[in-house]
């Protein structure tokens, strides 16, 4: 023991850090902040450290060259001992990090922690969120597969919308005129040097401010923040009634951090690493690129926005959101902290969560994408053809062969881009069906140039037979009057 003491003394004589460390560890925090709600910041930091460690390990095998990245990922997955596990830890760590950062942000927002004097801590936090998302996107690129390749194309397309410098921005992003070797190399530099360096610096400032300004006290309804009195009030909470951070509050951070690491490891073992999917070969076009989980909402948004809204939404939307987040502490820097007395804040969080959740959920099955193989893969349901005429069956053939099925479902099978046609005859009369098929409209292409009159007749006959049992097809009353056949079904009243 004496020897250990001597070694300690030797280092302390030279480093002189013991006092600082003790002071930092034992700084007083308000007693009620020793809460399970206050563990997310340290958990995010823990996962970031895991990401650094696993990232360095991956870089020992990974080759940041467009020609070899994909095969080096395959080697990591299949040849290098436990390479799959390190990749899985890094991939799941990334998902967990974004999730924890978002939860941390929501907690900070709902607990009013961004108010005076912690405005700058919040602002740095906003940049930390952006930088974390930057890590996620650049990391997805480094997993250089089909999704990464076409994802870069999507990124370039979005960048090209910037007025005036759009074309330059694309070339700067890609490192040249096309997605190629230079693109991957520069995303490697971003993901491994630039963004992590920024992240470490920002985390340092963020933590320093947490220490200097003190952790946000537990918000009490009715205890308002006032710039003139807050510092003294907080001092009262910490100096008179506070408790040392170590060990009073830190044990919960430690438990939660350990639990989160275990959860990442469990996901890594159970689900394994992400991809890589197919080779990044642009001549393989049989692919439907999908972004990683935390960008799925964006994928949904880009599909659902009307074309005229897209450029403004892409260019102005992010600026407004980021500006809003940055200005938040200046717009409501004082006053009530407790979420119990801030209904609009709670409502805002709920609306954003539900919106992002809905978009993410929709992106899971992408109803806006045509099902490329539905026309040849999904059969016409038997019940539809039961008792149908020869013309209707011919129409069913046209329906399949002209790929209508890629966008329209029958019996739950097929694309969902257009409406399901199970009961189309109830909605549209024969004339309306003909018009819709020939001219298109709404979101449907016009098929007039691509169908012979005979094919159109057959197709419309088939569509006219699509109605649930017991429901009468739609009919044009004026035609009935003109023909004097009021009781006849429109489905059988063909010209």
């Amino acid at each position: 023991m004496r020897l250990i003491g001597q070694i300690e003394d030797w280092f302390e004589r030279r480093l002189q850090l013991a006092g600082l460390i003790r002071e930092t560890a034992e700084h007083a925090v308000p007693r009620n902040t020793a809460s399970w709600f206050y563990v997310f910041g340290s958990a995010a930091l823990t996962i970031f450290i895991l990401q650094i460690v696993t990232g360095i390990l991956l870089a020992m095998i990974y080759v940041p060259s467009a020609a070899e990245a994909w095969s080096s990922l395959q080697a990591l997955n299949h040849d290098v001992t436990l390479g799959w596990f390190i990749r899985a830890l890094h991939g799941w760590g990334s998902n967990f990090m974004i999730a924890i950062v978002l939860i941390h942000m929501v907690q900070v927002f709902l607990f009013g922690a961004y108010k005076f004097p912690r405005e700058l801590t919040w602002i740095v936090g906003v940049f930390l969120l952006l930088v974390t998302l930057g890590m996620a996107f650049s990391g997805q690129v480094l997993r250089f597969d089909q999704d990464a390749y076409w994802g870069l194309g999507i990124g370039a397309s979005i960048a090209s919308h910037v007025p005036i410098i759009g074309s330059a921005a694309v070339k700067l992003m890609l490192g040249g005129p096309i997605i190629a070797g230079a693109t991957l190399s520069r995303f490697f530099a971003l993901h491994v040097f630039v963004i992590p360096g920024t992240l470490i610096a920002l985390v340092g400032v963020h933590l320093l401010m947490v220490l200097k300004l003190g952790i946000n006290e537990w918000p009490m309804p009715g205890r308002l923040v006032n710039r003139a009195t807050y510092t003294n009030e907080y001092h009262e909470l910490t100096e008179r009634n506070g408790a040392p951070f170590v060990p009073y509050a830190i044990w919960k951070d430690l438990f939660f951090a350990g639990f989160i690491l275990l959860a990442v490891a469990a996901c890594a073992i159970y689900f394994g690493p992400f991809g890589p999917t197919g080779q990044p070969d642009p001549t393989i076009i049989q692919t439907a690129p999908r972004p990683d989980y935390f960008f799925l909402w964006l994928y949904a948004l880009l599909s659902l926005l009307p074309p005229s809204m897209e450029t403004p939404a892409l260019l102005v939307g992010p600026v407004l959101v980021i500006l809003g987040l940055l200005l938040l502490p200046f717009l409501s820097g004082e006053g009530e902290k407790s979420w119990r007395r801030r209904p609009i804040a709670v409502l805002a969080v709920l609306i954003i969560a539900v919106t992002l959740g809905t978009f993410t959920h929709l992106a899971g099955f992408a109803p806006w994408s045509p099902h490329m193989n539905a026309w040849s893969g999904d059969p016409i349901p038997e019940r539809v053809l039961h008792g149908s005429t020869a013309l209707e069956r011919q129409g069913a053939l046209v329906f399949q062969s002209k790929q209508c099925r890629n966008c329209h479902s029958l019996g739950e099978l097929g694309g969902q881009r257009g409406p399901s046609l199970d009961s189309v005859a109830v909605r549209l009369t024969q004339d309306q069906l003909i018009r819709q098929v020939i001219q298109g409209g709404g979101n449907m292409p016009a098929y007039g140039k691509n169908l012979t009159p005979a094919e159109t007749t057959a197709l419309v006959a088939f569509l006219g037979s699509l109605h649930p049992a017991g429901q009468v097809p739609a009919r044009d009353a004026s035609r009935d009057t003109a023909l004097g056949t009021g009781q006849e079904k429109s489905g059988s009243a063909r010209p």
Partner: protein, 180 residues
């Protein structure tokens, strides 16, 4: 104690030192920024573009649309397969062609041709185009991008070398796209 207003010898040296470093930094910044922006500045002279053969005219039957692949005119050793590019070639009649970029005019996903329905469909966000490349439905704001082409000695040749992106057609540093 030196007077507040007078400059001491060491103070002067420090200022000269800062000035010296500033000059060196500026001098170094020129090539560094030149390197960083090289991917933009090089493209200003259309140096990326070149004529690339797609194949013999006979490989493309009249009235049909076929997939063709070509190698990007500029290749770096680390590019791997990324420099191989696909495009859709429509032979309207005789020497009249349309060569469409594989990239959807919405956000660049690879569009697929369906000859039966005469439509190009995009798997990402659901864009669709008619056989002549014009927009049929979905989020794209315009029709498919077209490569400039020429037919020489029985070879279909296109001017390629740059990724088509929807917003860049009127950029300050970008050339105007041939079909925009």
């Amino acid at each position: 104690m030196p007077n507040e207003n007078t400059l001491s010898r060491r103070g002067l040296f420090m200022k000269l030192g800062i000035l010296f470093n500033g000059l060196v930094a500026t001098a170094l910044a020129v090539p560094i920024i030149g390197f960083v922006l090289s991917s933009i500045t090089r493209g200003r002279a259309n140096a990326y573009l070149a004529w690339v053969p797609l194949g013999s005219v006979n490989e493309f039957p009249e009235g049909e649309t076929r997939l063709a692949t070509f190698r990007n005119p500029n290749v770096m050793p680390t590019d791997g397969k990324t420099v191989d590019t696909a495009c859709w070639v429509r032979r309207v009649e005789r020497d009249q062609f349309q060569v469409f970029a594989i990239n959807c005019a919405h956000l660049g996903c690879p569009v697929r041709w369906f000859p039966q329905s005469g439509l190009f469909m995009c798997p990402c966000h659901g864009g669709a185009y008619y056989r002549d490349g014009s927009r049929a439905s979905g989020p794209p704001e315009r029709g498919l991008f077209e490569y400039p082409y020429k037919v020489e000695n029985g070879l279909v040749t296109i001017q390629a070398g740059e990724l088509f992106t929807p917003g860049s057609s009127a950029g300050l540093f970008g050339k105007k796209l041939p079909c925009a």
